[in-house]
Amino acid sequence: MQFAFNDEQQMLRDSVERFGEDEWSAADRLKRLAEGREGTARRWAQMAELGWLMLPIAEEEGGLGGGPVEIMAIMEGVGRHLMTEAYVSHCVLAPALMTGGGDHCAALLEQVGAGQVRIAAALIEDDDFDVAAISARASAIDDRFKLTGTKTHVEDGADADWYLVSARTGGAPGERAGISLFLVPSGAEGLAIQRFRAVDSHRHCSLDLVDVDAIPVGVIGEVADRIEAALDRAIVAHMAEAVGSMEAAVAATLDYVRTRQQFGAPIGSFQVVQHKVVDMSVACEEARALMMVAASQLASGGDASSLIAAAKVRVAQCGIAVAQQAVQLHGGVGTSEELIVSHHLRRQMMLDLAHGDRDHHKARFAELTR
């Protein structure tokens, strides 16, 4: 029973930490954000060179076969430095959805690992997070498929080259049978993309599809389990990001309350302030313990779905509470664009929504433990 990283994982963690300090220092954050897509492209190329992009891809598909714990070592750093690169969407979720999907998938994943191609998952419709709550249709004409429907939210989809779209080849909305998964290039005929920027600077989109040519991935009509298993991997990676961000927010707050003087004393000398910082650090420990146990269980291959659902709920609750208190204890300046704490709050709020919010996963936990 041990929670420590092994040497390789520790080296990976340190490497991400250096990258974060160089590229995403809090003082330069607004400059970085202003660089927009060019900055992201430059850093994405660096990350490819460091081997991070191919880390989660299976070895037989040209990757390094890294598991949940290696991904955690990367994502904690992503969270600590609030990097906006969409590592989870392109390097964790997409490969998990495509693994074992055949030659076409393997060829694309190799390009993903090299940083040449970005793939985003288009799974959500009509504001519901349930993987089965979809009505987009895929009709087979000979051995080709054509998709028609609307995908409400594609996490990190604004700059993707390909989309992994879930659609029905059978069954009715709400049913798990009849769900299939398809690859669609961003330039496909009949595909309309609306792009959005989120409050944390991630770039998403929604898709309208009318008779779009699509390539099937996995077994037709039977991919609900594959999607949920892939989402579990993405969720655990996001939790590591959330924990990294929480711990950074607490560290920033501790620095601040030790130095900020009011009433002739550092505000950290006041018990009411101390107890709030304590509650923040307890929330961090709660979230970290859950995230690590969930990652470990996922890595050892056991059924982790109810644990991951529980962790998703609690990490989000803790993350939002910590970031809100970080803003509160910074006082007025905590609400400014200039200080890092408000960026942590915005990211925590969006992490809650990514792949199902607190209520969704609480209901899922209740169902799984019925």
């Binding site: 929670f3 420590a4 302030v273 107890h275 304590v278 313990a289 146990v293 709920v313 936990f365 209740a366």
Partner: protein, 393 residues
Amino acid sequence: MNLDLAPEDREFQQDVRDFFANSIPEDWKKTVRAGLRLSPENLVAYQRRLADRGWGAPTWPKEYGGTGWTPQQLHIFWSEASAADAPAQFHQGLELIGPIIFTYGSQAQKDYYLPRIISGEDWWCQGYSEPGAGSDLAALRTRADRDGDDYVINGHKMWTSYAHVADRMFILARTSNEGRRQQGISLILVDMDTPGIRISPIHTLDEKHHTNEVFLDDVRVPATNIVGEEGMGWNYGKVLLDRERMVAAATAMFLPQTLRAVREAATRRRTAYGLLIDKPEFRAKLAQVEIEAVAVQAMVLRLMADAAAGADSGPRGSMVKLRWSELTQQATALWVEALGPKAQHFAALGDESELPDDMPFALKGALYARVTTIYGGSSEIQRNIIARRALGL
């Protein structure tokens, strides 16, 4: 990072599971699930059964009659005990005074007292708190004056749990008024049948008698009953700080017992909407408490891993105590909620069989739970400790 069980741990797990299989009487279970202590007779019976199996002191080293178990084995033992609705062992002898005796006590004290703790022969109570010394324990005023080969003790102890059944009490008393307040305090072992001791029950909100005031009036004990050196009693408490994480961990691991009781109550209860367990509002509340309990179990695993690695847990023992105590309050409150209107039927004025099945355990449990955020260092004190020691504020 690896949380999987090694093959030898799996074997151990099976041994423990076999021991607990069908070994807990049904009538213990509701009490245990409410987080309430069994009657002293039943707790002693349980302690004897464990001692017979060689498991009387799970956290003690082998040389003092303990099991010498690794933290991983302790985690397995408590997990299985919790799953079997076994009670927690009574801790005042095993976890509070025992470790101080084997760390600082004389050879004679070790030889005499330790085996009697393990066998369940001696029940110990803790004479620490006083009317003017609660969270600020160093303000205690009970005096132990040296008189020849004896100490003569005078004072007034409060919140002395189980003094009315205890054979012995370990007390903190002032042997000097010089220097810092903490410096004049000594730790002394007292037989409860010594003349001059008077016990007066404190009636508590749960209507269960577990705690007392103890008046000490010229109580004469041999000077050899002092543990370690005179004036060093305060420091001996530090051995407990290191072990505190294990006590917090063990206690937190019994939380799922209460949640099972809530589930059962909600599964039995019929409402106008069908079974309570199917009502979305209730399911969401139950899921919330269960999710937080999962989080606390994950925190416990981290504590045990620290212990296994011989690493300092920093504030994490305090954190588990904070979260566990809040959750036991929430879980027992939800149990009461699951009883619905009948939660008002605390005691029968006529036919007992008209009471809800789990009364009075649910309500007593919810009321008793209020003390969990007060005893053993209140939540406010825990926060002070974390702020000072871990955050450097």
